[in-house]
Symmetry: D2
């Protein structure tokens, strides 16, 4: 079928390519003219036969707000917009209402797959009305991986990005789990074959998984990760997951611990631990040093009994 | 090759069976005469040709201590004992020393695979000397899954159980991750297709894994887990992982949160939260009820500004 | 000085009383005519001499939004509004802007003190312009406790509620700390004098505090808290603290754990732990029971080696 | 009464001084002859009139084991040993049994008070038999603070150190609570008066406490803790608290988070976060740098949709 795509960066460009390979007619627009098939959104709309379907694949937040708002101005009743970016699910509901008032359908679609998606397909999680999902199914069928999995119509508008957000929250905790296990094993002096251990786990264990496979790719290049700093960014989804948990009064201790570990990884020094060090110094006379920071309880014959 | 196995329960029995299918000569001993090939440990030893290899597959703790101690009395210098149970890695070092003083070799072997191991093979993680590992390789080769993974000689005595323990710690946090994600999704009123969402994730996502596959088996039978109580036991490994972390000064926030969630799942009421409720009542006049336990801040026109 | 107060519930009524005892002229308005000095907001405004000061002490959220919006309609340039409720600091900035456009000053004031404030004074944390704080100082001086502490001009508009919010976050973790300590002590079979232990800590220890004193009041009435259920509500401030932490990329593991413990205390059953139980059942054949929920690994001679 | 004290370092020396001021006859032994009243343990024993009482105030672990073992050799039936150090409660039970076999009484005594104890008294938490506690009461009465608090006979042998250990666990979480609150406030750009805020909290708030007073002493010297590194040691008690929690299946999320924050504060780089960074790089093509460690997702028009 015919599809307009807005945003032809790494993700959008690969998705357009996969759709063309699958026989669809894709008209792409990007603000970078080298990537774009058309010179403007208006031209994109003209090139598509109504009722149109337009896939938005631009950064979440203001770029997506602006794009959807402009689509509301140039599209017609009966057209459908799909937001395939990483939007916050609460924004979807606003976007859906804004377009709905003009008779334009809206679907939100969480997309997983990264750099592997072009060849292997993208996992798709969609929110919106049955009718609109049905219209876009030929596109979803081509984008998703082969086989029976990789696509879900998760619920109402926002549900696609909601479950994608939770997917990423789960991913945070799984990555943290491997990280913690690795750290404990590296700290042991009886385990001498660390990368071999992780590699062996790829078969027959409870924790075998794609993330474990990736970890072994990383360890194959750099067996003790000497080349990598323990510094991790976090994307919006991790934060949104914790905020959704707080809003819904759902305890998420492992996922939140994983987000906080990333926050901490980016700190040069911890203000909270400055307080702890200062308090220890106040009540116990524990030494504090600015330069070295070391606490040297000294060679006192008695214990620091506080 | 020839192997004695002590303990022919679910795990030991299946392992004996897989070894026999693989062409080995297995002599099994179990205190249950219906399962046992011989009437006593002494008879087991007599039936094996020196230098012997004996695999211990009995519950961790006292049963394993007792079995290894008795083997030290009946075996000879040059024989090898493998502890394939779930022993604590600190016990391995004691067992290794005790047997070593008599010239008997010792290997510790963490085993993963559960009820699926007979057909698919068992992941094996081994600690001990190269020489002893080499002697047992024919056995390990048969027990492990086909393919290049599923076996590691992880390090010195204790290393096998240490990495198996950490494997289980990672497993705790992965299970918790799926649990937390499920809970948050179930709490949302926009996601209407929860089991379908988890099923879809089996392809194309970052979190695809054997545990996710198992979760989908569970959801296929009981889509909202109505038939299962949120009550989870913990095995020794989870506790040992946290204790090893404390001993090594390694922070394991996600794994520990997962262990604590299991502890909490088994409480009828939380003493800690009784204190919190009592304190809120003391300083804020927040209502506390014994029967219902509900906190009813009432319809006061002003907020409980404490 | 003259002050209008809107909201004469437990907190507002006691604050009006403390101000009157301190020699101020207070005109109070409450939607409950039995508590109110005037029949309407308009009448309240008429009764005060410009430039006026009006203290809003109504529930956070919509009631406060509505009250401040209406005050913007009936007050004049040069008047000042103080929001003494538990508003979210992000709302303060909106309220300050709305009133500021009409030349009306705005201060946000976090208030601590609860039922003890009438006699002991209220701790006050204020955000806003120096000029407005200065105008209201006679009121703050009377409301605050005697002595040199209990009042701070914390910063710009919103800063008062921000630091009050963080105060409550700290409070959550302190309460949780006592709760956890209590639970561990109760779990020990060597400690036989639990309430006596907590009582003894009121002098000479590092943890002596007002919360500990309150805990001892609670234990004096109910030595093992048998009459109280471990069920704790959470107020907005705890959730906002965690959300502010996520917004500012600040890790708050102990405060967040305290909030989550309250969430969990209100669950009949944990969906997350249903998943964990279901997974254990899938891979290990661990028994799951719906009625009793108990996991009975049975009398197998071998360990559940997964 | 007469008391022998072994270990005259900072704590033991001050306690001896406080006892002498209170009219007791104290004979002190220290391996440092400049501090010691006697030349040997034997001489200490000779100088005391049976039935004797000897207070051990040496570092926990081997020094305490050795001292108690030697006292078992030189004391007589009817004498009493008090371990006032920071011993692990599980060691107390062994020490009590060893001495008990010789008819020598044993009390374990957790001591809090630090450098402030000489003047203000020490909080004492005692485990052991009523009869032995009664014998030592004159000593306890002099050491403890004036007033009705500061002493408890907590339970059986080990109970004194157990509750002192938990006291320290609570202390960890309270210190962490203040640290987290401080960090969040410092991260806000609307709060401009941070030390003033903490100072104001000393009256009228729920969180007023000795630790808050100490924090304000620290902030008075160094308003933004610029001179202190966020680096905190941990004592044995924090680790033992978590281990006791695991042993008793008691969830301690806030206390454990506080211990882990200290562990993390001492790491130059986090191996766990190296894994997270490596995984992010593998699946998302997120940049990893060894020198700078920064993740630069670049100016791609599309989001990193993984």
């Amino acid at each position: 079928m015919e599809l307009g795509i807005i945003g032809l960066g790494r993700m959008g460009g690969n998705m357009a390519e996969r759709l063309r390979r699958g026989g669809h007619t894709v008209v792409g627009y990007d603000r970078n003219p080298d990537l774009s098939d058309v010179g403007s959104l208006e031209e994109l709309v003209e090139r598509l036969t109504p009722p149109r379907a337009v896939w938005v694949m631009v950064p979440a937040g203001q770029p997506t707000h602006d794009t959807i708002h402009r689509l509301g101005e140039v599209l017609q009743s009966g057209d459908i917009v799909v937001d395939g970016g990483n939007s916050h699910y609460v924004d979807d509901q606003r976007h859906g209402t804004e377009l709905g008032e003009k008779g334009i359908g809206f679907l939100d679609c969480g997309v997983s797959g990264g750099v592997w998606g072009l060849e292997n397909g993208y996992a798709l999680m969609v929110g919106g009305d049955d009718e609109h999902v049905k219209r876009l199914m030929p596109i979803f069928e081509t984008l998703k991986p082969e086989g029976e999995y990789g696509f879900v119509h998760a619920g109402r508008i926002g549900a696609g990005h909601f479950v994608k957000m939770v997917h990423n929250g789960i991913e945070y905790a799984m990555m943290q789990a491997f990280g913690e296990g690795y750290e404990l094993i590296e700290a042991s002096d009886i385990v001498t074959n660390v990368p071999e251990t992780f590699r062996s786990w790829q078969e027959g264990t409870v924790i075998r998984s794609w993330l474990l496979d990736l970890m072994n790719r990383a360890l194959a290049d750099d067996p003790h990760l000497d080349e990598i700093r323990g510094y991790a960014q976090d994307s919006g989804e991790g934060r949104w997951t914790v905020q959704a948990a707080v809003d819904h009064a759902v305890p998420l201790p492992a996922i939140t611990a994983s987000l906080y570990a990333r926050f901490a990884s980016r700190q040069q020094d911890s203000p909270a631990m400055k307080v702890v060090a200062a308090l220890r110094n106040q009540f116990g006379g524990h030494a504090v040093e600015s330069a070295k920071g070391a606490d040297s309880p000294g060679a006192d014959v008695t214990p620091p009994a506080v």
